[in-house]
């Protein structure tokens, strides 16, 4: 039998973790956001955030996160669908997941080589008579690499929800006169929407605060909330403003979590009998 004290005992690591790595950092960020450069209490940071510089930055951050999420979804959904139809689906899935185990920085450096002026892509373009093309440090290369990195995180939840879908529901839809497209939009998509939402969460939220890929691939031509925070802390040494941006970033994340949250409507079972 578990007594109340042993239960509390088991909860200690959890609480320690939460306090040290969740509550404390957030509290510190919130605290620092109320101080200016010389250490005086102020609300100016928050007022500053609503100036055009930061609003533009927020907007561009959202725009890039949207682009990344959109392309990831467009590639991941059909891929996940095909995967569920293959014979060795777990193996194929594993092959897609494996690259995500490799360090992000390594993969990003690899792309610098691939997209560089003397890299294979330029060599390939040369064959068709294109001269040396600047691919690195463009919007395209930034979005491309980010999509590449995030694809497994989108495929996995969508694959799981598609895999759980009862195939006789698709038969039923066809039987009732629905075309392939109607079957997709009225049956398959609504029943896998939770997987899509989970995938969007896993891609959109981290995309908002990307800064490493932004730095290495986009060469600071793309400025997102993530790079702005980094610059405020490390370059300008304005911890107050950096914290304020971080506070807004957290607020945005919470809002996105709420919007893409799971809604229960009997759809969790995906129609498969347990």
């Amino acid at each position: 039998m578990q007594t109340k004290t042993t239960k509390t005992f088991y909860l200690i690591p959890y609480y320690v973790w939460i306090v040290l790595f969740v509550v404390a950092p957030i509290a510190l960020i919130a605290y620092y956001s109320f101080f200016d450069l010389s250490g005086n209490f102020t609300l100016d940071n928050y007022l500053n955030f609503f100036t055009s510089v930061y609003l533009k930055l927020t907007l561009s951050s959202f725009w890039y996160a949207f682009l990344i999420t959109f392309f990831t979804l467009v590639i991941a959904y059909p891929t996940a669908y095909l995967l569920t139809k293959t014979r060795h689906k777990q193996l194929w899935l594993l092959l897609i997941i494996i690259p995500s185990w490799i360090n992000l920085l390594l993969k990003t450096y690899a792309f610098i080589g691939i997209f560089g002026l003397y890299g294979p892509v330029n060599a390939f373009l040369n064959v068709f008579g294109f001269g040396e093309t600047q691919i690195l440090f463009t919007d395209f290369s930034f979005v491309f690499v980010a999509v590449y990195i995030f694809i497994p995180f989108m495929i996995l939840p969508i694959f799981n929800s598609l895999d759980k879908l009862n195939p006789s529901l698709i038969d039923a839809s066809r039987d009732l006169g629905a075309s392939s497209w109607t079957t997709f939009s009225k049956v398959i998509l609504p029943l896998t929407i939770n997987g899509v939402k989970a995938g969007i969460q896993a891609v959109f939220i981290p995309s908002l605060s990307l800064f490493m890929i932004t730095r290495l691939i986009a060469g600071n031509k793309v400025i997102t909330l993530g790079t702005a925070i980094e610059q405020q802390f490390l370059v300008t040494q304005n911890w107050g403003m950096g914290s304020t941006i971080a506070v807004f970033l957290i607020i945005f994340m919470v809002i996105i979590m709420i919007i893409t949250g799971q809604r229960d409507k009997g759809a969790n079972s995906n129609g498969k009998n347990k």
């Binding site: 039923a172 006169g177 629905a178 075309s179 409507k265």
Partner: protein
């Protein structure tokens, strides 16, 4: 082929690869407005026939006609056929109303018309008042009814039912048997019902197709099939039966285990080896000296409506007896039966030959 034919299979074969043939050269004709049952054990191909009619798969060879038109390549969504699935396949993200309305919305009917038709369909299956319920909140029997309503609301020419009662408990199952039969008669639609349950098949059908390993063994009314099974397989599958080997001595005389009995079969070769079926309820317990056969009671079970006795004759053949009379275990009893109770089955007879033979009796038997 009559004008009333709605579905016709012509030499239909379905195989997945060179080795696995699910259906082997099936020929059948279904008439409008009847209740058909495809009966057989799992893996006999009955569900495959249903899926071919629904359009979920195409035959490997042969032709399927619907109202005289070849439909081999017509996709499922363009066929006037609706299915009640084994697991019901109701859409879990839609409520009862929307599930039933699914097909109507695809046809883009007006809002009023949809509402009226859905309510009417729900009335048919006694589910008025459940429109707003989620599927997860419905019981097994209710889901079953929603599935039926979802099929009939589209006014299809044929309704296919894929073992729809197998997930229900016994009491609900027999209730639904009555309801389905009644529903079919009220609607006047063609129902094609797939089951492995012979009682279900006998109770509901106008005509039964008994299938075995991708072939039709026998088709006919429930009475025909029960009373005149074509072979050992059908006799064994449809109800409890005593099946023994025998020899046709002459017309109307059959020899079972050294004893000769009077029967109603004729036209077979003298001394032809045959299989004999006698249904357990056709055997009557009587005194040893009055009986046509002397057997020893081995076990006795009380089945509620009747006793089920397992008895053995001197040759060691087992005879199952259903009787309202009781006997004692170990006791010798006599068994009496009418000549009509003996059903003679020729070995390896095709359905055509079998039907011809039965018809020839009819002329003789009913002439005098």
């Amino acid at each position: 082929m009559s004008d009333n034919t709605i579905i016709r299979f012509e030499n239909v074969t379905k195989s997945y690869d060179a080795e696995t043939t699910v259906l082997n050269n099936i020929n059948l004709e279904l008439e409008r407005g009847k209740f058909y049952t495809l009966l057989g054990p799992s893996g006999c191909g009955k569900t495959t026939i249903l899926r071919l009619i629904a359009g979920f798969m195409q035959p490997t060879s042969g032709s399927i006609y619907f109202n005289g038109k070849l439909i081999n390549n017509v996709p499922a969504n363009e066929r006037q056929v609706n299915t009640v699935f084994q697991d019901y396949a109701l859409f879990p993200h839609l409520n009862v109303f929307e599930n039933v309305a699914f097909g109507l919305r695809i046809k883009k009917l007006g809002k009023k018309e949809i509402e009226q038709k859905v309510i009417e369909a729900l009335k048919f299956v006694n589910l008025v008042g459940y429109e707003k319920r989620e599927i997860a909140e419905m019981s097994g029997g209710q889901r079953q009814r929603v599935a039926i309503a979802r099929a009939i609301v589209n006014d299809p020419e044929i309704i296919l039912l894929d073992e729809p009662l197998s997930a229900l408990d016994l009491k609900l199952r027999s209730e639904m048997q009555y309801e389905l039969r009644e529903l079919q008669q009220r609607l006047g639609k063609t129902f094609i019902f797939v089951t492995h349950d012979q009682e279900e098949a006998l109770a509901m059908s106008d005509e039964i197709f008994v299938l075995n390993e991708g072939e039709i063994e026998q088709s006919g009314t429930p009475m025909d099939i029960y009373d005149e099974p074509i072979n050992r397989y059908v006799a064994d599958f449809i109800g409890e039966s005593n099946i023994v080997s025998g020899t046709m001595v002459a017309d109307f005389r059959v020899k079972i285990g050294g004893k000769e009995f009077e029967c109603v079969d004729q036209g077979l070769n003298p001394n032809e080896k045959v299989d004999i079926v006698i249904r357990p309820e056709d055997l009557e317990i009587t005194a040893v000296e009055k009986g046509k056969m002397k057997v020893k009671v081995d076990t006795q079970l009380f089945r509620g409506v009747h006793y089920e006795l397992s008895t053995y004759d001197d040759e060691g053949n087992e005879w199952l007896v259903h009787s309202t009379k009781k006997a004692d275990v170990g006791e010798f009893i006599g068994l009496d039966f009418d000549p009509e109770a003996i059903h003679v089955m020729r070995l390896n007879e095709t359905e055509e030959e079998f039907d011809k033979r039965l018809e020839s009796y009819g002329e003789d038997a009913y002439a005098n």
